[in-house]
Subunit: 262 residues, 2 copies
C-alpha cells in the first residue's frame, strides 16, 4: 500500500510592495500583453513557487502612479521561511518593483476589504523650467509665481471629515461617493534651486473615488494660484457640481504610501 503525503495546504501571505509606476499601465492585470505591476508580481511568484496565483491588492493604482506601501495577498504552498520567499521574489523582480516586507497572514485576510484607510502623497513643484531629477515623481506646475501654500492648507482643511466627494470623481465600486478623510496636509519641502517651491500633499481616507486625489490636488493648486476660492471649493463639497472644473493633476506626482488595518 502506498502512503502518500497529504497534499500540503496553501498559506496566505501578505506583502508590502513598492514600485515606480512610470512604465506600467497601472497595477491591475489586464487582458493581452499590457505591462502591469500585478502581472509582473504574479510572474515572479510563479517563477519562485511554480504556482500560478491571482493576487489581491489594497488599491488599483492607475497608469503612471507610484507606490511605496501597496499591500497584496496571495496563497501558495511554500516549504521554506517567509524570509526565503521574500528574498526569492526580490531576486525575480525587475528594478522598478520590490517587495519591502512579507509575512504569513490569516487565511481570510483581504488587503482591500480589511483596510481601515489608505494614505496617498502627491508631490508638485513650481519652477521656471522642468527639473529633470524631480520630474519623474512630481508635477511641474505651470504657474509663474509661488503658490499660496497657506490658502492651500486652508482648502485642505475643508476636506477633513466625512463629505460627499461626487465632485471629485466616480466610485470605483458600489454607489456611494461619501468618504471620510482623516488627514489632509500640505507640507513645504526644501526646494533645490532654481525650484521656487516644492510641496507635498498628504491625504488619508477610508477610501478614494477614481482619480479623487489627483482631482483634489488640481483644485488645491487652483486655490493656491488664486483661480479658485474657498467658497467655490466648499460648494463643490456640498454637492454643487455645475461648471466645477474637475481637472486631475498628472499621475506622475502620486504615490500610494500606506494602507492601514485594524
Amino acid at each position: 500500500m502506498i502512503r502518500a503525503d497529504p497534499l500540503p495546504a496553501a498559506t496566505r501571505y501578505r506583502a508590502v510592495v513598492a514600485y515606480d509606476g512610470t512604465r506600467f499601465q497601472g497595477f491591475q492585470r489586464q487582458a493581452g500583453e499590457t505591462l502591469t505591476v500585478q502581472a509582473v508580481l504574479e510572474a515572479a511568484i510563479e517563477r519562485v513557487t511554480g504556482q500560478r496565483v491571482t493576487l489581491k491588492a489594497a488599491g488599483r493604482t492607475d497608469t503612471g502612479v507610484h507606490a511605496t506601501g501597496q499591500v497584496i495577498a496571495f496563497d501558495v504552498v511554500w516549504r521554506h521561511t517567509p524570509a526565503d520567499l521574500w528574498r526569492a521574489l526580490n531576486a525575480n523582480l525587475p528594478d522598478d518593483v520590490a517587495v519591502h516586507s512579507l509575512a504569513e497572514a490569516p487565511p481570510d485576510f483581504h488587503p482591500r476589504y480589511d483596510a481601515r484607510s489608505r494614505v496617498y502623497e502627491y508631490t508638485l513643484y513650481v519652477a521656471p523650467a522642468r527639473h529633470p531629477l524631480l520630474d519623474r515623481y512630481a508635477w511641474h506646475v505651470p504657474v509663474s509665481q509661488a503658490l499660496n501654500n497657506q490658502m492651500m492648507q486652508r482648502a485642505a482643511d475643508l476636506l477633513l471629515g466625512t463629505h460627499d466627494f461626487a465632485a471629485f470623481g466616480q466610485p470605483t465600486q458600489g454607489e456611494s461617493t461619501v468618504r471620510q478623510v482623516f488627514c489632509s496636509q500640505v507640507q513645504t519641502l526644501p526646494a533645490p534651486p532654481p525650484v521656487t517651491q516644492l510641496l507635498r500633499y498628504r491625504i488619508e481616507a477610508n477610501g478614494f473615488l477614481y482619480h479623487m486625489v489627483r482631482r483634489i490636488v488640481g483644485a488645491l493648486v487652483r486655490v493656491g494660484s488664486g483661480a479658485l476660492s474657498l467658497e467655490e471649493l466648499t460648494r463643490a463639497l456640498e454637492g454643487a457640481q455645475g461648471d466645477w472644473p474637475n481637472q486631475a493633476a498628472p499621475a506622475r506626482g502620486l504615490c500610494l504610501i500606506a494602507v492601514t488595518y485594524e
Copy 2:
C-alpha cells in the same frame, strides 16, 4: 553699390544645465550614434538658432551620472533676448535634460578653466531590499546593518585640505593628482520605511580625478561598515597604495550639484 549689413557677431552664452544621466553615455559627445548630453544640447541649439556649435562644459560627467548644476558655454548669433533663447532651448530638449538658467557671458568665459570649485553629492541608502523610488538616484548599499555615519564623517574630515589623491583615481588631464578639498560632509536624511538609512555625501574641491568621488564614497562606506580603518585611509591619502581596494561606488548615486567661479 550694395550696402550689406555687417555680419553680426556671435555672443557667448553661459547656461546651468540639469539632467537625469540614466540613459546617457556620459556628458561628452563621442563619435558615432552614442547618446550623450552634449550631443542632445548641441542638437537643441542647432534647431533653435540654425547654428552648429561645439559647447564647452565645466565637467565631463560619466555614464549614468546626474547633474543639477552643470555649467556650459557656447557662441551663437541670437537677435532676441536670453530669456527667449532659454525658453526655446527648453522647448527643444527631451524630458531628462533642462536648462535651468541662461545669460550672456564675457567672450573669454570658459566653464572649465575659470571654475574655482565643483560640488558633487552622492546619495546612498541601506535597506533590506531595493527601494524602486530611490534607486534611480541612489546606491542601494549591500550591507545588512546601518553604517556608522559618525565614523564616516571622521573619515570624510580626513579628506579636507590639500592631498595627493593618487589612490583615488587618475588625473583627467595633466599629471598632478593633488587636489584641494573645501568641504567633505556626510548628511543623514529622513529615511522612508523600510529604508534603514539614507545618507548624502557632499564634497567640494578645486578639481576631481577620474572616478574620484565614487572611489571616495566606496572608501567611506567601507569605513562605515568597519571594513576599512581611519589609519588605512590616512595611509592611502599619504600615497601608500599597496593593496588598497579602490572600489568605485556606482554612477547612479552621483550628481554634479554646482560649479563655482570667482
